[in-house]
Amino acid sequence: MSTVSVPTFWEAIGCPSTSKSVPTSMGTYSQERAPTDPFFYANVDVQNIVIGSRWMLGYDNAGVFTELVSGEASATNFIISNVPAFGSPFLLELRVRKSSAQPKYKKMNLFGFHSGNGIVMYLSQVLDPVAT
């Protein structure tokens, strides 16, 4: 099964994660995280997508759809790994469109709450009887 990985914000801008170990007065270590760091990362398992579909995974950020990662399906099932959750609950939106070549399918927007154990998004795309 193919896997697509979501680059973290810090990877995207060429920096390492802000998580770091810091010494304390007792000689122990704790973790320090930036407010922009996600709550957790987990996988999104996409199943039953039509090969050739264009997809985009994102979330609603104050009314604006924000892309996390996108691609074109080369397999029916694949895993998007390392998907961050910036809140709890965190609603993910998977947009799927297949109109570039026949057979064409109706567009589909699939939603799911992200989970620390990962989530499965199972698609059932419907043929578009109008577009040719």
Partner: protein, 146 residues
């Protein structure tokens, strides 16, 4: 490109060869291609489409395209007559799917095989009162009383 999409202004720009004749099939194909493109998938959908119902013997109904939100079709500037064929397009900004362009006259035939009236017969209570009143007057004026 003859059918170009301005996502920021919600305008479908038509240029040759689609200026004088635009087929609904070409329009919906272009809309679906745009929606599935790298750019288009980031935006909400542009239109809904229905139709092409197979009624047998190779005959199918036409296409009805509903432009969503404030989307409109805009012809290239000039002085000419343009036609939309193969169905109909509705919706758009304020219910006007065609943007005004000076000098361009657009012909569009909108048709349906049947209609559904949303509420009742259309006769109001006031209409009923008026009908009853007129009937009474007519009756009194024609009837003779001993």
């Amino acid at each position: 490109m003859s059918i170009a999409f301005d996502q920021n202004n919600s305008i479908i720009n038509l240029t040759a060869p689609h200026t004088t004749l635009l087929l609904m099939q070409d329009l919906i194909n272009a809309i679906r291609d745009e929606e599935a493109s790298d750019r288009g998938i980031q935006y909400p959908k542009i239109a809904d489409a229905e139709g092409k119902i197979d009624i047998g013997d190779g005959v199918a109904g036409d296409i009805t395209i509903t432009l969503l939100d404030i989307w409109q079709i805009k012809h290239a500037a000039g002085a000419y007559q343009a036609s939309l064929k193969g169905g109909q397009v509705v919706g758009g900004l304020g219910g006007n799917p065609i943007a005004y362009v000076a000098g361009v006259q657009v012909k569009m035939i909108q048709s349906v095989a049947g209609i559904i009236v949303a509420t009742g017969s259309g006769v109001t209570e006031q209409d009923k009162t008026d009908i009853a009143e007129k009937s009474k007057i007519a009756l009194l004026s024609t009837a003779s009383f001993p």
